[in-house]
Amino acid sequence: MDIFAIQLVNGLSYGFLLFIITCGLSLTFGIMGVLNLAHGSLYMVGAYLALTVTRDIAPSFWAALVIAPILVAVISLIIEFVLLRPTYRLGHLSQVLMTFGLAYIIHDVVRMIWGASIQSLNMPPELSGSVELFGQVFPVYRLAVVGFGLAVAVVLWLLQEKTRWGAIIRAGLTNKEMVSGLGINIKLVFSVVFAIGGLLAGIGGVAAGPVLGLYPSMEFEVLILALVILVVGGLGSIAGTLLASLLVGILDTFGRVMFPEISLIIIFGIMAVVLIVKPTGLLGKQVH
């Protein structure tokens, strides 16, 4: 029973981290039509930048949580401007391939700057203890991640439903031609969307740093889970992404502990079943 409760919290917090990261991917894919295979790389960069911030700028996790994602957003803007904007005419497939090449590049750049050994980000001291709830002892940080993830979900949902930008994004998800026909600068929208995607990836990277660690190939592991969540949750639905993220987070966590050999099969089996039976995902909308 102890194990169950703790693993549940671990699974939920992992799920929320995946949620934050996948939202960024879902946003760029839904709006721009480009499946950013370097999204995991941006997550990784966020984590490593946080490491540098805490080491060289200010030993504060909170500072890193603010600075690193912003830097990742800036990097994303540069990527969009230099790599994607000049090449939209080549088509979606070409751009996806380019992001794949970019992931390879970022992989080595990160390794060159920060090295290949496993590192970790220090938890903020305020959240590093444990707390007792319902007779169980839980790590505070994990609970904080759950809370943070919920907050992010609410904020994103509010932004999407209640603001003008959100309306544009929702419209863009369903009808790009109409959006640009309304005189909205689609190029600007794309850049902003890509930057937000990077921002979310960076936030995920910093938040995940203390619990998942920093190591080579971390970006590909996260990327593939984000793809699963994208498929299972469906595009255009924050609730769907959240549901799928929690599902994957919990399955993966329990899987590692209880049935490591088949957790992979289960996760990808669910992905396959969703694709075959309801390709738009559990709660997704058809995207043009």
Binding site: Y104, H107, V228
Partner: protein
């Protein structure tokens, strides 16, 4: 490219490859062997991506299935070459048939993701059956293939020639198949599936067929790898291998016969030579890939015609754009691939 020129080109290529063991060092031979193995792998993926227009990110599954099947056969049952090769081929074909059955029903992004999902499930299976497959530790001590009874194919040169023979057979068969009436159906599906259907073709059946052929040959590549390496591990089934195969096909030239071979050579050479100079070979591969996607989307095979055009070398009257090589494969793939 007219028929005679093509035949001459292929002949020269095969003769040159025959002579390789006499021309290169032991290290060079090992590189060449690897190139031929991955050429077969890339050629098999090309059937799906380049010819039928189905962009798959799950091809590593067949490589792994072939490698593990051949290895397990050799360890537990018999290391006879024909037996292991044929078993690898058949099992890969069966797996491809099952996976293809589901994948043929979806297209575009969903197809890409479904192939990925199935491939990762197979990856998971390798761990699930860890007692059989050795799990994370992989399968080591795979015996060398035997031609007849005790006649082992043991030395690097012998292994090279074995793999060369298989490569040559695959190349020559595909040379015909891809430009046969059947092969042209694949091309048609890539270009406009609805139209091909309205010509009376059961396109789902042909997509399945392409899938099975591609998977079977992918498995053959995997078994070749097991003969060469003597060791198989889960990373031979991981999705990044699928990504590399895709890179090979696209850099080399999708939808052409020789493109995947060039792409495989390019990538293997890059990885092996670069990694002796620098740890950052991935950076160079990534940057090169991006450059190709932007500037040479038709791959290495288009360098020749491009140079010709740039240098404006007078040639005979422009040949009619008849063969599959001359087309914009990307446009065709876009319709069936990851375009939204």
């Amino acid at each position: 490219m007219n028929a005679t020129l093509r035949r001459i080109g292929l002949a020269i290529l095969l003769i040159a490859l025959c002579a390789v063991p006499y021309l290169v060092s032991a290290y060079g031979l090992s590189i060449m062997t690897e190139i031929l193995i991955f050429s077969v792998f890339a050629l098999s993926l090309n059937i799906l991506v380049g010819y039928t227009g189905l962009v798959s990110l799950g091809h590593a599954a067949y490589f792994g299935v072939g490698a593990y099947t051949a290895s397990l056969m050799a360890i537990h049952f018999s290391n006879n070459l024909f037996l292991t090769l044929i078993c690898a081929l058949i099992i890969s074909a069966i797996v491809a048939f099952i996976i293809g059955f589901f994948c043929s029903r979806v297209s575009g992004f969903y197809f890409l993701m479904l192939t990925l999902a199935f491939s990762q499930m197979i990856y998971g299976l390798v761990y699930r059956w860890g007692k059989l497959t050795g799990g994370d530790n992989g399968l080591s001590g795979v015996p060398r293939p035997a031609l007849l009874g005790d006649l082992l194919i043991r030395t690097p040169v012998q292994i090279y020639y074995l793999i060369f023979v298989v490569f040559a057979i695959v190349l020559l068969v595909l040379n015909i198949l891809l430009r046969s009436p059947l092969g042209q159906i694949f091309v048609g599906i890539r270009e406009n599936e609805a139209r091909v259907r309205s010509m009376g073709y059961n396109t789902t059946l042909y997509k399945n067929l392409a899938f099975v052929i591609a998977g079977a040959l992918g498995g053959v590549a995997g078994s070749l790898y097991s003969y060469f390496n003597g060791f198989v591990s889960p990373k031979d089934v991981y999705w990044t291998l699928s990504g590399e195969a895709l890179i090979m096909v696209l850099i080399g030239g999708a939808g052409t016969l020789i493109g995947p071979v060039l792409g495989a050579a390019f990538l293997v050479l890059l990885e092996t030579t670069l990694s002796s100079y620098t740890d950052s070979w991935m950076l160079i591969v990534g940057a090169t890939f991006i450059l190709f996607v932007v500037f040479l989307p038709k791959g290495i095979v288009s360098i020749g015609p491009l140079l010709v055009r740039i240098l404006r070398v007078p040639k005979r009257r422009p040949a009619p754009a008849r063969s599959a090589e001359a087309q914009d494969i990307k446009a065709g793939i876009e319709q069936n691939g990851v375009g939204t």
